[in-house]
């Protein structure tokens, strides 16, 4: 079997991986809210203990 077939199978598997990743992210709801996640990650986890004077 020619090497091109192996390359072909490899590329299909890779592309299929990306497809599955995309479908997964849709199912997970990543396209439903594009405002909160990029901001949520910027919030500090540590509790601000000093009261605002």
């Amino acid at each position: 079997m020619s090497v091109i077939i192996i390359m072909l199978i490899g590329s299909i598997i890779m592309a299929g991986g990306f497809l599955i990743a995309f479908l997964w992210s849709v199912k997970d709801g990543q396209f439903e809210d594009h405002y909160s996640p990029p901001r949520r990650i910027l919030f500090d986890d540590t509790i601000n203990n000093k009261p605002n004077k």
Binding site: L8, L23, E32, Y35, R40
Partner: protein
């Protein structure tokens, strides 16, 4: 996040101007006690990061929420309707919080557990303005969580409407799946077909060719069976209704392409056109995805139920029992508190009723009602507590009956959109060409060529380009409009707007600003004591004008009045501090009829024998309204229809001219009938622009109904589009922009015809090779996408709809 020196005169919480109030804590000023309380709660719970993330992120808290407002949330049957899931220990619930507007809100709502320890998880979905909460039943209750949210300024919107309908929408996800799968298959089929394009017969090793073929067939299966299923479904639906929609020829073309390609591949006569097929399916799905963008935080389908509270207090043996609204029976006595809606038709039995009907009837001034009078559902009580005797059930009330009219029931019409009409002729034409060409070859006894011609003509003339031009144009128009805060419900609305030739505006709340009555004073300057005395005198008057002027003067002290006299419809008089004050209409002050025909919204002031001046109560028109009406009036017919009195008639007539209809004192049903009259008698295509429940019937009856709202998260009646009030003065530009869309579609359609002619040239001769198809197809698709995009952007720029904004939301 900008750093800015705080102006000490704006509220630290909500940023409103607070020059008049003297509420402060340390160095922070607040516009009202509500804002200060929220600040204190957050400060106590160490949540002041809220104020660090954004400047003045809060929501003004001027309306104080009654303590037992949420008592109904202790009722188990109501709880069951609101929550999503409970296992006894934990409860899952999702609230709709229309106030949510910035990252501070996000942060605070996800840290709600620091105020209410019983909250286990709180997660925000900002696009839907929803927060999902899991709460621990042993530590807190649903009512307490709602009260916590309310205490920090995020009162959840809980209404019957949301309880009735299932909030979960899944449709859009399936389309995303389809686009993903189609894109994957399209790209891979293209890649595998490449060796075939580049080589003439025999160049590619035969064994590799065989393997590639089967890969291609395998990849085309999901495109045919999964991705393009919606074209078949809608085509079948159309045919069943004896209506040839655009999807029918597309489905036919996909089917023939697929069938012929399989035949070629398995009979080893060629490679088929599977690459072109998956390509057009992919592009068409992308177009539909763009076009059917949904606005998750906005609802276009609200009916009266969304506006009504979910429960009211029924008085029974001196106890208040929260009762679900649809369980109220005639004969019950209900309590309605300050600033609450009256849910049913009832008779006033106790309390001072001052009802704001602006939303229901369009009257701009509140109405005073005495005990024993009937009060219709939908009004908002403005002062104090009322006890009301229910006379009708919710489902029988006056307002509800309007909704039960037929127009609110039937609305499943077949769209006669222009692309369907063109598509129909297009299909007939293509079928004609296919038959002609193949019969020509049949006549010449070239049977192989005949089949070839018949199929390739249908393949190449697929009206997908037509579909692409309309979906991409509409999609981009919707996107640009939504950036400019006009949200349309459906892409078909664009086309409806382009046929409109009559505009009908509501006055109160649409041309004027909602809930804002502007009082101006002209004449001799009044000193402090005079103002105080006038205010004291007016506080005795039950007339709405008196109240409006009183609010304008903003004096609280009350001074005793002697010989006070109030003459209904004229004015009020009395002795204050040994001076004789007289306030009222022209006739009341001067003793004779007004020669200048002043309207009835003017109050004259007379102290002793001197007429000092006059208070004018004017409607506060929106910025740019006369310019807008003028512009629209040049090209279209414009009418104004209002539930209010005719005080503004002259003013509006000078803008519109004498030929236009300007109607006052119109009840909701009159408005509906007026629209019907225009449509049926005058044969006009009517666009209604309104705001309140009083316009709901007219909005629905009109060809296009646009609701205007001060805040797009607020509630507006069912309509085809929602316009943010701040963009009102640009409305004529929006109309021009939308109308230009039709031209764009037509032009790109001619471009696609050009490609079709080239394709047909090859197809009728029976020499359309997969290579030509594979070049023509993406060329036409991409050039149409670019052209529609470019032309809509150009038109938007011409109409001033593209701004350089740095604030991405």
């Amino acid at each position: 996040m900008s750093i800015k020196v705080l102006d000490s005169k704006t509220c630290f919480h909500c940023g409103e101007d607070c020059n008049l109030s003297n509420i402060h804590q340390h160095d922070k000023f607040f516009c009202c006690d509500g804002c200060k309380i929220v600040f204190e709660i957050l400060n106590e719970n160490k949540l002041c990061t809220y104020y660090d993330l954004n400047l003045n992120p809060g929501i003004a808290q001027k309306i104080i929420i009654r303590k037992d407002k949420f008592a109904f949330l202790d009722d188990d049957s109501i709880i069951q309707k609101i929550i999503q899931f409970t296992d006894g220990n934990q409860t899952n619930v999702t609230f709709y919080l229309p106030q949510m507007h910035c990252s501070s809100c996000l942060w605070l709502l996800e840290n709600i557990h620091r105020i209410n320890k019983g909250v286990i998880i709180s997660k925000v979905n900002f696009n839907k303005r929803e927060v999902f909460i899991v709460l621990d039943n042993s530590k807190t209750s649903l009512r307490k969580v709602v009260e916590t949210l309310t205490s920090i300024g995020y009162e959840p919107h809980i209404s019957l409407h949301e309880l009735d309908t299932n909030r979960i929408i899944k449709g859009s996800k399936i389309r995303l799946y389809k686009v993903g799968v189609a894109g994957f298959c399209f790209a891979n089929i293209m890649m595998m077909s490449f060796p075939e394009y580049l080589s003439s017969n025999g160049m590619v090793e035969e064994s590799i060719r065989q393997i590639l073929k089967y890969f291609i067939v395998a990849l085309s299966l999901p495109v045919f069976f999964f991705c393009s299923s919606e074209f078949f479904v809608t085509a079948c639906k159309g045919i069943r209704h004896k209506f040839l929609n655009i999807d029918a020829p597309i489905a036919l073309a996909i089917m023939i392409t697929f069938g012929r390609s399989l035949y070629e591949i398995f009979s080893d006569t060629g490679m088929g056109y599977l690459d072109s097929m998956s390509g057009i399916v992919f592009f068409m799905l992308v177009g539909r995805l763009l076009q059917e963008k949904t606005y998750q935080s906005i609802s276009f389908d609200r009916d009266f139920k969304s506006f009504f509270p979910i429960a009211v207090n029924v008085v029974n043996d001196d106890k208040n029992i929260p009762t679900q609204i649809d369980k109220i029976k005639p004969g019950d006595i209900i309590k309605v508190f300050n600033n609450e809606l009256i849910p049913v038709d009832c008779i006033l039995s106790k309390g001072k009723a001052e009802i704001d009907y602006s939303f229901v009837s369009g009257e701009s001034l509140p109405v005073v009602k005495e005990a024993g009078e009937i009060i219709y559902a939908g009004g908002r009580q403005l002062s104090g507590v009322l006890e009301l005797l229910v006379v009708k059930e919710v489902s029988q009330s006056y307002l509800t009956n309007l909704w039960n009219k037929d127009i609110f029931k039937t609305k499943e019409e077949m769209t006669s959109s222009i692309i369907h009409v063109i598509g129909k002729y297009f299909t007939i034409l293509v079928l004609g060409i296919a038959i002609l060409a193949s019969s020509y070859w049949y006549y010449h006894n070239e049977y192989q060529l005949m089949w070839n011609t018949l199929t390739t003509v249908l393949i190449v003339a697929c009206p997908c380009a037509l579909l692409l031009s309309s979906t991409f144009t509409n999609g981009n128009i919707l996107r640009i409009l939504s950036k400019n805060k006009l949200y349309l419900r459906h892409p078909d609305v664009i086309e409806n707007i382009s046929t409109i030739n009559q505009f009908v505006f509501d006055k109160t709340g649409t041309l004027t600003q909602q809930n804002k009555i502007k009082v101006t004073y002209s004449g001799k300057k009044l000193n402090e004591t005079e103002q105080m005395n006038i205010a004291s005198l007016l506080s005795q008057s039950p007339h709405p004008l008196g109240k409006a002027i009183n609010d304008f003067l903003d004096k609280r002290n009350s001074i005793p009045i002697l010989n006070f006299k109030w003459i209904d419809g004229y004015g009020i008089e009395g002795w204050i501090e040994e001076k004789y004050y007289k306030l009222g209409s022209f006739e009341f002050i001067h003793g004779n009829m007004n020669p200048n025909q002043q309207n009835n919204s003017t109050v004259f002031v007379k102290i002793e024998n001197e007429v000092l001046g006059e208070f004018k109560i004017v409607n506060n028109y929106r910025f740019g309204f006369n310019q807008l009406l003028n512009d629209l009036n040049k090209e279209f017919t414009v009418a104004i229809i209002s539930g209010d009195n005719d005080a503004e008639y002259k003013n509006l007539q000078t803008i519109l001219g004498s030929k236009s209809d300007i109607l006052f004192n119109q009840k909701p049903l009159d408005k509906l009938n007026y629209i019907k009259h225009l449509q049926q008698i005058k044969n006009m295509k009517v666009m209604m622009i309104g705001d309140g429940l009083n316009d709901a019937g007219a909005l629905k009856q009109s060809d296009v109904g646009i609701a205007i709202t001060e805040n797009s998260n607020n509630f507006s009646p069912a309509c085809d589009g929602i316009l943010d009030a701040s963009q009102f003065s640009n409305f004529n530009h929006f109309i021009k922009f939308i109308k230009s869309g039709k031209r764009t579609i037509m032009m790109s359609f001619f471009l696609s015809l050009l490609y079709n002619v080239i394709g047909l040239y090859f197809a009728v001769q029976g020499i359309l090779s997969p290579l030509i198809a594979a070049i023509l197809m993406p060329c036409s698709s991409i050039s149409i996408i670019l052209m529609t995009f470019g032309m809509t952007e150009l038109s938007a720029w011409k109409n001033g709809l593209i701004k350089h904004d740095n604030s991405h939301v």
